[in-house]
């Protein structure tokens, strides 16, 4: 039993490690991409379309497709998870910036802000609630899909779940699954707290 606890703890940490890495990389990559397609709107249909297409690929297909490219272990998992986070994060950044009140934009412009100042000091902070909703959605999604990564040797709580399926141990399956769900809930809550710390982050937290 004690061994089990140790193992679960280890897998939980692995799981968190893989998922958080993907969320951080996804945020760093896709928020700027969202800003880019907002500024160069002609790129928004292909970029957001492609991100949507990626999300429709079943993870059982995407993971093995990446193995020849990036090798085995956590690498294909991280790449796949980052790709999955592209749609919610890019699209919410794009939409959030587009929804900034036109009057506020006009006021900023009329007061003498440069385009860059307007983006950094007005539009991005005002879009924070929508952008964060995308990041939180991506986080929940990623924590769920990380489970599949175990199938291709990345570790994490999926290992216990797949072992439980093979050995017909429903308690083990349910236990590990509950931990995955708790992780998703805690991460979502944690990101909500983080959002509060950002300028403009206190608004729209109920969405």
């Amino acid at each position: 039993m004690l061994n089990n606890v140790d193992l679960l703890l280890e897998q939980t940490l692995e799981h968190v490690d893989i998922a958080l890495t993907a969320i951080v990389i996804g945020t760093v990559l896709w928020v700027p991409l969202g800003v880019f397609v907002y500024q160069y709107d002609r790129f928004s249909p292909p970029v957001i379309g492609l991100a949507g297409m990626i999300l429709t690929l079943p993870s059982l297909v995407l993971f093995p497709l990446l193995i020849p490219v990036v090798g085995i272990g956590t690498a294909p998992a991280t790449v796949a998870l980052v790709l999955y986070s592209a749609l919610p994060i890019t699209r919410n950044t794009y939409t959030g910036l587009g929804e900034v009140d036109a009057a506020v934009e006009r006021a900023g412009e009329g007061l003498g802000m440069t385009d860059r100042q307007l983006l950094a000091r007005v539009k991005l902070p005002m879009a924070v609630p929508v952008i964060f909703a995308g990041i939180r959605q991506a986080a929940v999604l990623i924590i769920g899909i990380t489970t599949i990564a175990a199938f291709f040797g990345a570790g994490g709580l999926g290992a216990s779940i797949f072992a439980g399926i093979r050995l017909n141990l429903p308690k083990q399956i349910i236990g590990a699954t509950i931990i995955v769900s708790l992780l998703a809930i805690v991460t979502d809550y944690g990101l909500g707290l983080l959002q509060r710390q950002l300028p403009g982050g206190k608004r729209g937290l109920n969405t």
């Binding site: 006021a107 900023g108 009329g110 007061l111 003498g112 007005v122 902070p125 005002m126």
Partner: protein, 322 residues
């Protein structure tokens, strides 16, 4: 001083939003632009800070064409207030007011001091600066909007229907407050309104626009006394005589006391308007005494009023005075 000469704005599909408008606003004066919706007043206003680029003509501010200025620099020197207010809701009231000083690189100390001054000017308590705009009422928000525009001590203020979205009582409050604030400043103001009463109240000069053309540009009194054509006459309203009377102080029509009837219970002050004088005629016998500081300084009769109110308005006189 702002000079517009033959300013035109044509949009892509050859819609002429503003056609050949020329006018001057002297330093420290307020010009109101008024007209029905779609008359080009907002387009004209936004050409002054180059939010809209003009197609033809020239706009000169203090001797320099605005096309010679860097757009960003130009806007930082011009206050801008809009009907939708457009406060930055993610920033505190203090940061909102301090935004232009901040963009212009003022140091913290100077900025803080200026924010305090402005909150005092718009009659909000100093601790409002820590609050967020969404916690303020509409009237308070627009006061902050005005403070934000005044923050970097601009020489020019552009106001696009600034009080248009407020309820009538708050609107009047803010109009009066702003007139008071303005007296202490040497700011040239261009003020857009769709409401002729507001335009007459706020403006030293009123520009009436229709279909992108400047129909008449005159002082409120001249505009009321001599509307150039049927459009202006119609636009200023049927009660233009009463409006005119409400703009003229009793002082101007007062004649020296001759046979004074000291017993009249109704007395006027020289700063009262002729409108209130006319009202008084209904329950007092003329002439009325004009009293200042307890001293009778003159008398006022119907005839005196008629001598100052322009001839062309006579036809609009109510029967009693015709």
């Amino acid at each position: 001083m702002i000079e517009l000469s033959n300013v035109r704005k044509v949009y892509g599909d050859s819609t002429e939003a503003v056609s050949n408008v020329s006018l001057e606003v002297s330093q420290g004066e307020t010009a109101t632009l008024v007209g029905p919706s779609g008359c080009g007043k907002t387009t004209l206003l936004t050409m002054l800070n180059r939010l809209t680029e003009l197609t033809d003509g020239e706009i000169i501010i203090d001797g320099t064409p605005i096309s010679d200025h860097d757009k960003i620099e130009l806007r930082r020197n011009i206050g801008y207030v809009i009907q939708e207010i457009g406060l930055f809701n993610h920033m505190t009231v203090g940061d909102n007011i301090g935004i232009v000083p901040d963009l212009r690189g003022w140091d913290e100390e100077r900025k803080k001091e200026r924010i305090g001054e402005l909150l005092d000017l718009i009659q909000l308590p100093l601790d409002t600066k820590e609050r967020y705009p969404e916690s303020l009422s509409g009237g308070q928000q627009q006061r902050v909007g005005v403070a934000r525009a005044l923050a970097a001590e601009p020489d020019i203020m552009l106001m696009d229907e600034p009080f248009g979205a407020l309820d009538p009582i708050t609107r009047e409050e803010l109009q009066d407050e702003f007139l008071e604030i303005q007296e202490g400043l040497d700011v040239t103001i261009v003020f857009v309104s769709h409401d002729i009463n507001e335009a007459l109240k706020m403006g030293d000069k009123v520009a009436v626009l229709n279909d992108g053309e400047l129909v008449q540009y005159d002082s409120p009194r001249d505009l009321l006394a001599n509307p150039r054509n049927a459009f202006v006459e119609d636009f200023v309203g049927e009660d233009r005589l009463l409006k005119q009377l409400s703009l003229i102080p009793v002082r101007e029509a007062t004649t020296s006391p001759s046979e004074l009837d000291e017993r009249t219970s109704t007395v006027l002050h020289p700063d009262d308007t002729l409108k209130s004088a006319v009202q008084s005629f209904y329950h007092a016998t003329e002439p009325l005494s004009v009293v200042e500081n307890g001293q009778v300084v003159g008398s006022l009769s119907e005839r005196d009023i008629r001598s100052v109110v322009s001839d062309s308005a006579e036809e609009g006189l109510p029967n009693k005075y015709a």
